[in-house]
């Protein structure tokens, strides 16, 4: 499934574009970046409340398809700038992590 399709069906806000045609094959949820480094897989969509600038480097390292920041968590400008530089897709959902993941599961992810 392409990120585009997920954005449309869930009504997510695109904070930083990038490759919205990228294929998403799974999901990962954690706010502790050491866990993400250990556990996330390429092409995962990563749902988190962590907004520190380090999330962009970790997402790039793990080659995830994109980051979904849940619960309308405020993303610092420095994080958005880093995502622009790295071409990392950043999305935002007003729903809490649990509800966001339920919707992703309902889409068949």
């Amino acid at each position: 499934m392409q990120i585009n399709e997920i954005v449309q069906k869930l009504g997510l806000t695109v904070l930083v574009g990038g490759d919205l045609a990228a294929e998403v094959t799974g999901g990962y949820v954690a706010d502790l970046l050491s866990c993400v480094i250990a556990g996330a897989k390429p092409h995962d969509l990563w749902v988190t409340l962590q907004t520190h600038v380090n999330i962009v480097a970790v997402a790039s390292l793990k080659e995830v398809a994109g980051i979904v920041v849940a619960e309308d968590a405020v993303v610092p400008a420095v994080t958005l700038e880093k995502a622009e530089q790295q071409g990392m897709v950043m999305l935002s959902s007003p729903l809490p992590v649990y509800e966001t993941v339920k919707q992703l599961v309902a889409l068949g992810l």
Partner: protein, 257 residues
Amino acid sequence: MRESSRPESSRREYHVDLHIHSVLSACAEVEMLPPLIVEEALHKGLHVIAVTDHNATGNVAAMMEAAAGTGLAVLPGMELLTQEEVDVLCIFDTPQQAQAWQAQVDGWLLPLDNDAEHFGPQFLVDAAGDFVGEDTRMRKAPAKIGIEEATRAVHALGGLVIPAHVERDVYGLLYVLGFWPPDLDADAAEVSHNMRPSQAYAQYLSLKNIPIISNSDAHFLDWIGHTRTVFRLAEAPSVASLRAALRQGAGQGFYVP
């Protein structure tokens, strides 16, 4: 650096423990009272300590008063929990600086009351260790301030910034943020008693060029000074002299015995 040109002999070694909780921390034992902390620190051969309660500074003046005339230097501090959920030591010279910092932090804390039954009470005490009141604000929850912004704010007030027990899996910077943020301008990193600085450098490449110290993180008396850092200071202990020693690097300005 200016200090490095001074002769070795003009510097003195100070045993320093910059991470000690008082009864204002809900998780500290009730024995963590100013006169007892001071007595224990002196007994353990410490010369400088900092009192660092969770998101709180309400006992720093009492701690400093309790140490007055004993030869023990007490620096007022706080263990801040940032919005990323990273613990950071903020160390100052004066109670006024600590109060100014507290006013900022209070604006970033959630408007919740402490649940003393579940988290423990947060006691305010005087220099004799007598009960003065209870801090009813929830101080265990993170403050809505990012670690870089908090660092800039503490520096603006003239304080030191040292992320605490960076390797620990609870509120440790490396665990929460994965690696030391390249733009973080902190003065040093603290490792817990579980890890030597040499191990930390070997295991975490992002700590390269970051001074690493160690403190006790004492929540009960017997632990005070268990882990410490020896600083070689050219002047009396202060934020400035500690920072100068940190900048001289491990082995020169300081070492973890």
